[in-house]
Amino acid sequence: MKESVIKLIHTDTIPESSICVQCGKCSSGCPVAFESEHSPRKVIRFLQWGCLKEASQSPFLWLCASCQACTVRCPRGVNISSIMLSLRRIAQQQGWVMPEENLSYYKTFINMIKKRGKISELRLGLATALHKIPSHPIEDIVLFFKLLKRGKLR
């Protein structure tokens, strides 16, 4: 790890990672930590070593739901949630996003805001569904018609 120490790109939150004591409270309470091999604690640990690239490539980043459970419970007051967001941005700027990550949702979302200022859930849902078939397509089609009928899609 030591060899891979690279210069940190200074952002507002990342220097905070050094005060982390690795108590694991963030991972314990994280609803999605065990979906990936990396927990938030490990991502912070990478940052403590200065391994920004490894941290940015962690699959955990894109799993984070920004629910802030880690942030409000951290005994050291590390803003873990915003570190994850910074890392997402760094990963994109540096081109470190792993190929298996599908960021089409993010792109569509941003384009929509830039074009219209607002989000249409209908368009957003359709656009992402086109990129990746949902896990329960039949239920989703039924739901689509139900929502339409109830005036919830416009």
Partner: protein
């Protein structure tokens, strides 16, 4: 009590019933609102993940608007609330930022629950209840961003908030203690990591079912979408019948205030509230 009401994307889309029921309840509780016309999306968590600048400029335009109107901002969607509050706090604390955007008085940003519980007050609500929901077990579910990270303006606890319980008690119904009330429903991940999102939501519905309430009450459009619209999909995943109606807190309140259920948008719920409505005699 005069607020500038910022609806946000969901409230004008899949959560149209939240918007309808809120407007109905607001007028009968005497909350004066002025709806913003030209509002912009808050950027949700997506803008923060892609473009930090954008995630600030989007809420800024709303804040500047509210400053012009000299009113406090009222938000229903917790995600919008957190994003706006974050920027407004930055404007209050960071002098250069304050000056950069030539603020005079940074408007307060409030979430609906904060207004109902602290500005109106449970006592006041109780006085206006026409149809007390006696004998109804209501399970409150807060989701993550209502209390995190701002604890409704610092007035609530992170782990065991009680505002919804107070409102539920005011309607005459009985709140159920839900240990999972501040857990994440996975809503933000629905379009990017669908499987994970469904897993999170499933665990919440499963735990809620164990307590066998008459309905679940939420204050977040995304939580509502996950628990209500996606309930069928989750039943499929769990191979278990859930069948729990999910209402917005405003809808529950509206029913107790004696407002017609059509005005509250209850007919728009995906999971049928029929049995629940029968139980309260609507």
């Amino acid at each position: 009590m005069n607020y500038l009401y910022y609806p946000g994307c969901s409230l004008k889309g899949a959560a149209i019933d939240y918007d309808e029921s809120f407007q109905a309840v607001a007028s009968s509780l005497g909350i004066e609102i002025k709806e913003m016309k030209d509002w912009e999306c808050c950027g949700a968590t997506v803008a923060k993940s892609v473009d930090e600048g954008l995630s600030e400029t989007l809420p800024l335009s709303t804040l500047k608007n509210a400053e012009k109107e000299e009113k406090d901002l009222l938000m229903l969607c917790p995600s919008c609330y957190v994003n706006h509050l974050q920027v407004s706090l930055k404007a209050k604390e960071n002098e250069t930022f304050f000056e950069q955007y030539s603020f005079n008085q940074v408007p307060e940003v409030k979430q609906l629950l904060e207004v109902l519980a602290f500005d109106v007050g449970a006592e006041e609500i109780k006085k206006k209840i026409i149809k007390p929901l006696k004998g109804i077990k209501v399970l409150p579910y807060y989701g993550c961003l209502t209390v995190r990270p701002f604890r409704l303006g610092g007035k609530e606890s992170y782990e065991n908030p009680k505002v919804m319980e107070k409102i539920i008690e005011a309607t005459g119904a009985q709140p159920v203690f839900f240990p999972y009330k501040v857990d994440c429903c996975g809503g933000t991940l629905l379009l990017s990591k669908e499987k994970t999102a469904l897993k999170l939501c499933a665990s919440i519905l499963k735990q809620a079912k164990k307590l066998s309430p008459d309905c679940i009450v939420v204050a977040c459009p995304l939580c509502h979408f996950m628990l209500d619209a996606k309930q069928r999909t989750i039943e499929r995943e769990l191979k278990e019948k859930i069948d729990l109606p999910v209402l917005y807190i405003t809808q529950l309140l509206g029913l107790a205030l004696g407002i017609d259920y059509k005005k509250l948008g209850i007919q728009r719920l995906v999971t049928s509230p029929k049995r629940f409505l029968q139980k309260i005699g609507v």
